[in-house]
């Protein structure tokens, strides 16, 4: 809660720093504020406090996801020096927008009232609509912003309609009141209530880019500037999943058996669509967009197999995915700056000229593919375990089959880096903060891959 206030105020201060041409101070101040916010959340561990007349409930679930999203934002902001300056001089606005969007994210992961969920999603999304289109003269960037805005507001309409129907049936926006009513009804639900939850599932599926609501994602991820894409695919996706599963854990746990076929189909279609279309991509960035869709499918399995371990499984998966994704986008930005291309060919022979960055990208690709000794393996392992415990054998079989298919497109870039010859001898130059991010990402991925116990027992 203190975290939300700190970040909001510092974002306003940063806008004024931009006015007075103190651009050098922007990123350090933002990172300091985010570290303070992490500390304030860490200090609230195990306290379980309600805020604003039960609008927000900061429990351990909320704290974990808040810290994860804030930490990922720090990594992304550390990549930003020198990046936003190339787009335009409004650097302060870009950083402030990212921070504002993070405030929305923090509301989304700790909401205890559906109106707060809606407000959080709107705060987060509206900042992202702008950020997707900050390259004003680039047609793809404009397309991304407009498409994201139109489709996003349409999906928010579905979510709002769902909330209204649930309110019509239960007479409350409060998650705990709804949960009590659901428990009293003993697993039975009226058509109105089912329709409401179904609409909410549609709205949230859009936000997490689950198929068949994924059509916006590749174009938006492709068109937006890479740093913004890395924020969208890590922080925004983590927050949307946290909000999605919180809805089911707290409010609708008693009726989730009604939606088992829906969520089963959503997860299966998302995994297949994401992985199969990713096979046919020629550019690395678009491949990452489709891979992000397929990861949404794996995380949906944890919601489908709802149980006491679901929150933790999603958290672990989100940690592994966010870190790997940030590091992949970081190297993509540098390669794009050097070769002016985002295709797989641009990575040819990267290992010869830049062995360290090739290694970092290899670790991140292995983590995304879910190879043992990386964090991504345990992310998938925990999710598949809870699904098997609940008897979803077919779905897990399908997911494992698709995870194997995914090796093909993740290893395409590794093969390009290590087995093909480079077109030139140019080396990539990294600043200090860039190196720091890549080191943190690589070490964290290996650490969580070797010692999963650090994070797995927290919830």
């Amino acid at each position: 809660m203190t975290g939300i206030i700190i970040i909001s105020l510092i974002a306003i201060v940063i806008l004024f720093l931009g006015l007075y041409k103190l651009d050098k101070a922007i990123v350090p101040l933002a990172v300091a504020a985010l570290l303070a916010a992490i500390t304030s959340y860490a200090l609230a561990w195990n306290t379980n406090i309600y805020y604003f007349n039960n609008m927000l409930f900061v429990d351990n679930f909320a704290i974990l996801f808040s810290i994860l999203t804030i930490a990922t934002t720090i990594l992304i902001l550390l990549l930003s020096p020198g990046y936003f300056e190339k787009i335009s001089s409004n650097v302060a606005e870009y950083v402030a927008l990212i921070l504002f969007s993070l405030v929305g994210v923090l509301c989304m992961v700790s909401y205890n009232n559906f109106s707060m969920l809606f407000i959080g999603i709107e705060i987060m999304s509206i900042s992202m609509y702008i950020m997707a289109g900050i390259r004003k003269k680039d047609l793809a960037s404009n397309e991304a912003a407009l498409k994201y805005f139109l489709m996003g507001s349409f999906a928010t309409g579905f979510l709002l309609f769902g909330i209204a129907l649930v309110y019509g049936f239960t007479g409350s926006f409060n998650l705990e009141t709804i949960s009590t009513l659901v428990m009293e009804s003993g697993g039975q639900a009226a058509a109105l209530f089912v329709a409401g939850i179904l609409f909410m599932i549609v709205g949230m599926s859009f936000k997490v880019s689950a198929a068949p609501f994924h059509f916006w994602a590749p174009d938006v991820y492709d068109g937006a500037p890479s740093l913004v894409t890395s924020y969208m695919s890590s922080v925004v996706k983590t927050a949307s999943f946290a909000a999605f599963i919180r809805m089911f854990i707290v409010a609708f746990a008693g009726v989730i058996h009604i939606f088992t076929p829906t969520l089963w189909a959503l997860a299966a279609i998302t995994i297949i669509v994401g992985n199969v279309i990713a096979l046919y991509q020629d550019t690395f960035k678009r491949m990452l967009a489709y891979s992000s869709i397929s990861h949404a499918g794996y995380m949906l399995i944890a919601i489908l197999a709802l149980g006491p371990d679901s929150g933790n499984a999603i958290f672990y998966y989100a940690v592994a995915y966010s870190i790997a994704s940030v590091s992949a986008f970081a190297i993509l930005i540098k390669v794009k700056a050097l070769k002016n291309s985002e295709s797989f060919d641009a990575f040819n022979g990267l290992a010869k000229n830049n062995p360290k960055s090739a290694l970092a990208l290899t670790i991140s690709m292995c983590s995304l593919a879910g190879i043992p000794l990386t964090a991504g393996f345990f992310g998938k392992f925990f999710i598949f375990t809870i699904a098997i415990n609940q008897g979803f054998y077919w779905l897990v079989g399908l997911a494992i089959l698709n995870a194997v298919v995914a090796f093909w497109y993740y290893f395409r870039v590794i093969i390009a880096m290590y087995m093909k010859s480079p077109s030139s001898d140019e080396k990539i130059e990294y600043g200090f903060s860039y190196k720091l991010v890549l080191w943190i990402a690589a070490i964290a991925t290996l650490l969580f891959g070797l010692l999963p116990g650090i994070l797995s027992g927290l919830l």
Binding site: I12, L15, F16, L19
Partner: protein, 123 residues
Amino acid sequence: MESNFLPSDYFPIVLQLLAAIGFVGLTMLATHLVGPKRKTKDKLETFECGIEQQGDARAPISIKYFLVAILFVLFDVEVIFMYPWAVNFREMGMQGLMEMFVFIGLLLAGFVYIIKKGALDWE
């Protein structure tokens, strides 16, 4: 206040709907059949208050109008929040006053920002 309505209770509304649609349909049909048809160039032009039309409707308009309009709407809407606050002023006491100060403070920061950024400079 619990009272049950049957679908048949809405019959008058259906009747009114039919009458409204019927009137429109009937008058359009009647003018089409009865009225004389003399088509001249002036008659076929878009009717705009009797003034001759000029140019295309999709002419580009300076973004400055939009900026001023949207900022006006922003500050206009903010004032609406003060009405419920003023009505409940006594009950909320000191805390309410402080909250309004925070709100106005943030608003003022935004105002200073747009002035400094030059959003309201016309030239």
